[in-house]
């Protein structure tokens, strides 16, 4: 645990938070379902980086790598199902505009 480890952590934290801001802003502001999925991918990458950098600074890289690998695999399946849903929405309604899915009031 050297001083540079803490420095590395201190450099990563602002950038991870910035990446989260980009992702969340994109999800809230965009109208296109596929772009919402892109935003979701961005925030997942931020979480991935967070786990890896925490593993690096606590000298626990094997654990962090295993967790990261499992996270990536799970993310693939979720994105695949979400893409399938978008394609089915397009087949049923002819557009992927998010304004069309405001039918049900939350």
């Amino acid at each position: 645990m050297s001083a540079t480890n803490v420095e590395i952590l201190k450099i990563f934290i602002p950038f991870i938070i910035l990446l989260l801001i980009v992702g969340f802003y994109y999800i809230l502001a965009t109208r296109n379902l596929i772009r919402i999925l892109l935003g979701v991918e961005i925030i997942t990458k931020a979480a991935l980086l967070a786990i890896i950098v925490v593993g690096y600074v606590t000298n626990n890289i094997p654990l962090a790598q295993s967790l990261a690998i499992i996270m990536i695999i799970i993310e693939v399946f979720v994105v695949a199902v979400a893409a399938g849903i978008i394609i089915q929405i397009y087949k049923r309604t002819g557009s992927v505009d998010a304004r069309n899915i405001r039918n049900l009031r939350g």
């Binding site: 786990i51 925490v54 606590t58 626990n60 979720v78 979400a82 049923r92 039918n103 939350g106």
Partner: protein, 476 residues
């Protein structure tokens, strides 16, 4: 031995798919029913030590990773009951054989995932199994691929992934302070007073994720849409266990392990719980669709559970966990009634229904039982759990919150009375003259669940001593 709860449904799915006979598709659902009955029987009649023993063939694998304490035992009981009801309703509401077979495969995998959630002792494995249940629910909701279901599934996906990212960030912070992801090491690290700020941040992030998955206000946007546009048996699954097992149970575990995170976290829980109770109850008053009203009622009841956890006392925890079990039973039964009404009359809108009490007596009778239980009328089960919650609030000197809980109970009674009047009593609506009672298979789960509600209410002291009291031992 405990791994069997996860491995047997998995093996069942593999076997069912490898045997390519046509009649398998017809009898598949009964295999699922048998499995869930076995799970309920196992958890009720086999003592805890025998189940957790690490000898024997299966005991050696995953031995140190699956544990079961009394909270898990109660959750597995609730999971077994609700999945049993969901499979039985699914047997009679899916029109297509292939769709029913896919439904059974996915619900067995979701069952394996849910059993896994309540038995792991590691926060990252908790995330993995939560994702299994989430992906299975995405697919199950959108089985019929109609427009409404697809829209609500997409909303659910986006909010679920946001919740997952919050949970992952909190796992990263927990790893930072403790170096490992198991519950034991997180608990040890949380006791260290130097870590307290980081623990509070991590717990807050985690509970944001858990609130979203559990459907609490203000993250409840996906819940009414998803629960009302899903097929009937999936609504039972979602409202009955999924929101509790993926939302409330992780919340209880984290609060338990990290010692609660102090006063600010408890105040957040109390406030969000009260907010959900009020918003859910008020929103239910204005609904026309039966299932949408039941979905908002679920939001309200989740608020009750969270506000009880927020008191931080042993009595509050007991009330919360008992309410989890009760809500699983009576909400599943209400959705089963809605499924019967929808199948026999073809509509779910209360404006178009009326006077069904004479035509569908069993459905009407069981829904009255559920209504009394959910509003907290003695001697049914719901009365006891709401009493525990309100007493815990009173003892913790949260008088305003106790008052809100009591008033919301009255509002609950009001909107369910409105449901009864519009659907079952009153004049027989047009076009409903030929409606008969639903098939026996559809009515049987509702009967069993109503019977359970009555029995748990009458035999409350027995249930309390056997199931609820041991849970307080997890609070140290």
């Amino acid at each position: 031995m405990l791994a069997l709860f996860v491995l047997i449904p998995l093996a069942g799915v593999l076997i069912l798919n490898l045997l390519r006979f046509d009649f398998i598709k017809k009898i598949a659902c009964w295999f699922g029913v048998l499995l869930t009955l076995a799970q309920i029987g196992f958890v009720l009649f086999v003592p805890l030590d025998l189940m957790a023993s690490q000898s024997g063939f299966f005991g050696r694998y995953f031995a140190s990773n699956f544990t079961m304490d009394s909270l898990s035992k109660l959750m597995i009981l609730a999971i077994g009951i609700v999945v049993f009801a969901a499979i039985m309703i699914g047997q009679f509401t899916y029109s297509d054989d292939t769709k029913r077979f896919n439904f059974l495969n996915l619900i067995l995998l979701a069952l394996a995932g849910m059993n896994g959630i309540v038995m792991v002792s590691d926060i990252f494995s908790l995330y993995v199994f939560i994702e299994i249940v989430a992906v299975a629910s995405f697919v199950l909701i959108s089985t019929y691929k109609d427009k409404l279901a697809l829209e609500s599934t997409f909303k659910y996906i986006v909010l679920s992934i946001t919740a997952t990212v919050f949970i992952l960030l909190s796992i990263a912070i927990f790893m930072l302070i403790s170096g490992n992801t198991s519950f034991a090491s997180i608990g040890d690290a949380a006791k260290n007073p130097g870590n307290s700020t980081l623990v509070v941040i991590a717990v807050c992030l985690f509970i944001c994720g858990a609130f979203t998955k559990g459907g609490l206000v203000p993250f409840h946007g996906w819940l009414p849409d998803a629960h009302s546009s899903a097929p009937s048996s999936i609504s039972i699954l979602l409202s009955g266990v999924v929101i509790k097992v993926t939302g409330i149970y992780p919340l209880i575990r984290i609060m338990n392990i990290t010692g609660g995170g102090g006063e600010p976290v408890k105040n957040i829980l109390l406030f969000i719980g009260a907010l959900s109770i009020v918003v859910g109850a008020l929103a239910s008053l204005g609904q026309n669709d039966i299932k949408r009203m039941l979905a908002f009622s679920s939001v309200s009841q989740m608020g009750y559970i969270v506000i009880a956890i927020g008191t931080g006392s042993a009595l509050g925890l007991a009330g919360a966990v008992f309410h989890i079990l009760n809500h699983a039973i009576f909400k599943s039964q209400l959705f089963a009634n809605a499924a019967a009404v929808e199948k026999q009359t073809g509509t779910r809108e209360m404006d178009k229904l009326g006077g069904l009490a004479l035509k569908m007596p069993v459905t009407g009778g069981t829904s009255i039982v559920a209504m009394l239980s959910i509003s907290g009328i003695p001697p049914l089960a719901g009365f006891w759990s709401k009493l525990l919650i309100i007493v815990a609030l009173w003892q913790g000197a949260h008088y305003t919150y106790a008052f809100i809980a009591v008033v919301a109970s009255v509002i609950t009674l009001a909107y369910f009375l409105m449901l009864q009047r519009k659907v079952f009593f009153g004049k027989l609506a047009q076009g409903l003259e030929n409606v008969k009672e639903a098939k026996f298979g559809l009515v049987l789960p509702a009967l069993i669940l109503a019977l359970l509600t009555i029995l748990i209410g009458i035999f409350f002291p027995l249930v309390y001593n056997k199931l609820i009291l041991p849970i307080q031992s997890i609070l140290k």
